[in-house]
Amino acid sequence: MVTEYKEGSVGAEFNKREFKVVGTRPPRPDGVDKVTGRALFGADFTAPGMLHATVLRSPHAHARIVSIDTSGALAMDGVKAVVTSEDFVKQTSSGNQDTLDNCMARGKVFYDGHAIVAVAATSVKIANAALKLIKVEYEILPHETDVDAAMLDSAPVLHEGRKFRNIPEGNNANVSGYWEFGHGDMDEGFAKADIVIERSFKTAATHQGYIEPHATLATMGPDGRGEIWVCTQGQFMVRDLAAAFVGIEASQLRVTASEIGGGFGGKTTVYLEPVALALAKKSGRPVKMVMTREEVFRASGPTTSSSTDVKIGMTKDGRITAGQAKLRYQGGAFPNITAMLGAMTAFASYDLEAVQTQAWNVLTNRPKQAAYRAPGAPMAIYTVESVVDELCQKLGLDPLEVRLLNAAKKGTLSSYGPTFDEIGLVATLEAAKAHPHYAAPLGPNQGRGVSCGFWFNFAGNTSVSMNINEDGTVAVIEGNPDIGGSRASISMMAAEELGIPLEKVRTIVADTNAIGFNDVTDGSRVTFAVGLATIKAARAAIQNMCGRAAQIWGIDADAVDWVDGAAVPTGHNAGDFPPMSLAKIAADSAKTGGPIAGHFEVNADGAGVSFGVHLVDVEVDPETGFTEIKRYTVFQDAGKAIHPDYVEGQMQGGAVQGIGWALNEEYIYGEDGKLQNAGFLDYRIPVASDLPMIDAVILEIPNPGHPYGVRGVGETGIVPPLAAVANGVSHAAGVRMTELPMSPPRILAAIDGAK
């Protein structure tokens, strides 16, 4: 359901616009292909003469590679090429070198599953058999997978000299990053409080859990020109990294994004693509690589795990006087900035006089973390929202009232620095408070959890082209893989701006040689930034079409306006001509100067931040610790919802991923540093029978930074569920839960421990 936003000057301005296409719920353009099995995903591509490649991976959590002998594999019938780290180009940027070293271990293996050698052969069976003939001599090193333990002086050091930023004294070499945010006097803030609660929390690493494993097909001829087909969130990212790693120029590598079977941030980097390209270069034949599910879990990016101390002070009437968080994240064996994002987002929902967050990134013997939906925020906000809930509980205050009392709003100095513009947190909280869910009675062993959530949203580099076809139809060409229905929303914005029926528009996601550069599909940026560029490209095309009409009519171009899909004369001296439709102008284009197109390229800014509030009712079985989700409602500020079905879908999907994170999902490592649950059997994502319907309430507080008021919506939904579920479980079980996942053994132990 969509709740119209009525108040506020900006909102009023945007609500004046009468949308014709935007806000409706048409079928998505790629839908029929996807319900008939015609849609081609990463593993569905083939090429004549194609080889298949598989990867030898480290069985050790941490070891020096003494030697690699691939001669046995190379001698095998059917084996066409073998690559190791020796076959790639040394990178000048440390970030790129890390990504390359993650694709193919150089000198050391850093985690169970780290790739060492890849073999291309005439079949998967032969490639796998060849892997067994490769001899790798390892010098096994001590390992550490826990974030707190990796910070101890006794911990084995993964890399020397990888500290960045000014790491405070007393941190060991595994601490690669440190960040601080906040403002105000903490001592003074805590002194004003009537009650102060300090708690420590831990969260497990989770995986994005996309159902489609990584898959790619690469070709490269002796002329040094290559092509890659791949399921990715960014074909330009793949082009730039794969070309750099193999040592060719960007123009020589054309990358086409297939349909993508889920990503959630996990397909914003490369794993197989440079390897397949290197094997294609060596063998002179197309090379296909598809990860097994086990490889996806062992070697593609999970999120960070965390260990956090939170301290919050509150007055008796619910005013937060000070908030402090110390966040320690590990994201595997290579540096990353997820902890920084955690520190920025932890207190973003609150208008605080005194707030301080500190974050450490710690290197451990786990796979290199990849982005996962609002990276860093869910686990940070989980800790803060848990303590706020406990303060409300202790003080006997309503958790939504307390959040309203302290809510960030327009003009609030945010906890991470900037001052907020128009934001929707108060409206979202009020919608939650007014919803029947909040007043519904609870049964025995049930508890209700509440949490706020926040995510920045990004914009970034974006290019869109638009061709006006002679038959009056329109081709929109964009460069961002469609991960959740964006071709529908882009087509809708094009139709809206051009004033033509949606059926006249077809949007495609082009390859890297067919459109200008685009950042990856991430940061909830596509509907915002590609939408913005689409509207601007349409305006360029409209300007062109107005000029054509002026030419036909013999009047000045600036005496022509564009109304409802047609050029119309405007002003005193323009003359009296009937509207000239897009179709008519297009049909006559050859006579008026040739093809008509519009395009727009920008490094966009102005992505609006987004807030959400989640309500959940849970029931905990006191004898087993099993948690059932009884009812769930999501409230989120989406800005203008272009296609409300897919906005709801993002909210529902994010909520359920968060429920999985809260209850059962976790990376489980043994003492030996090996991942114990590299499969969907024991890495337990929610199944259909685990859940009720997820009610989604869209709040439309327009983003001033977008012509239609769009905000990103994709990520915020995963942020509140961790605390919402934890707060619900804590109330139902009668004991405060401080570690995720709240698996049944953990809940039962907490219940029994509290007795």
């Binding site: 087993t624 209850l663 114990q676 337990r684 685990d690 053994p745 029994d752």
Partner: protein, 287 residues
């Protein structure tokens, strides 16, 4: 690897008995194919037994049912008379995996996989089910309880194949039930489980009972102290509490990624308690 799908049990046994390397019998394949995929086994020979007469049949026999080794869980669930007689065994079977897995998975396969957490086995053990085994030396009958000997190991010898499982006749006023604990609602391996089969008299007093536990020891446990706790009772609270305590006391589980010793021990008792109440109700008892 060689794939064979013989038409007779004699051919199947001949193939298995003369295979010098590793061989696997294929019925539903829901364990075997996973093992192949993960390269846990690389057999020389796969023998598909589904084309052998009787393997896919559920047959009424002496008041009980004989279930062919290749009968799927879905087929068991669709057999109304079988469900009426042994609802606990059928529900145990139907808990294994997804609807898709139910289309293929078999009782005999679940038994031969010899997992301590196999869902159907505690229910079959509570039901006193008997497996018919054919091998190079002829046919023998063996209680289901004696087939798994340790995780992944059975008492079957080379060339032997389970051809059917017999669920016996039972007195009137009998009921059975199976419950397992899993972290989700579906798709998990049992963390602890319990099967209970019992008979009551016309007064609602339990006259016979058999209680089994899964996933809390290397093989299924039969808990005599638990059955004796409820025999002669109407499952009053005290009797149920004794049963629960006896079950927890019998547990000898391991700590692993699916559960702790403490958790398994406690929930096995809870599962047994709840299963006993369901079985009692199915037997016609009212509380």
């Amino acid at each position: 690897m060689r794939f064979e799908s013989p038409d007779t049990i004699e051919q199947a046994i001949g193939l298995l008995n003369t295979c010098e390397g590793t061989s696997r019998v294929l019925a539903g394949g829901t364990d075997v194919l996973v093992q192949l995929r993960l390269a846990l086994v690389e057999p020389e020979l796969i023998v598909d037994i589904k084309h052998i007469a009787g393997m896919r049949d559920i047959t009424a026999e002496d008041g009980g049912f004989r279930i062919g080794a290749a009968v799927s869980g879905a087929e068991m669930g669709e057999h109304a008379d079988l469900v009426a007689l042994w609802p606990g065994v059928v529900e145990a079977m139907e808990l294994i995996g997804s609807t898709q897995v139910q289309g293929r998975a078999t009782l005999a396969g679940n038994l031969c996989n010899a997992s301590p957490a196999a869902d159907s086995v505690p229910a079959m053990v509570a039901a006193n089910a008997v497996a018919t085994i054919v091998g190079p030396n002829g046919t023998r009958e063996c209680p289901v309880a004696d087939i798994p000997v340790s995780p992944s190991k059975t008492s079957l010898t080379k060339g032997e194949v389970i051809t059917s499982i017999y669920l016996p006749a039972r007195p009137d006023n009998s009921g059975d039930a199976y419950l397992r604990f899993i972290p989700r609602t579906e798709m998990d391996i049992a963390v602890s489980s319990a099967g209970v089969s019992l008979t009551i008299n016309c007064d609602g007093v339990v006259t016979q009972a058999r209680v089994s536990l899964g996933a809390v020891a290397p093989t299924v446990l039969v808990v005599e102290d638990a059955s004796s706790a409820i025999i002669g009772t109407k499952l009053e609270d005290a009797a149920i509490a004794t049963l629960q305590a006896a079950c927890s006391a019998a547990c000898n589980p391991i700590d692993d990624k699916r559960g702790t010793v403490e958790f398994r021990t406690k929930t096995a008792g809870v599962m047994a308690k709840r299963a006993a109440l369901i079985a009692y109700s199915r037997a016609g008892g009212s509380k």
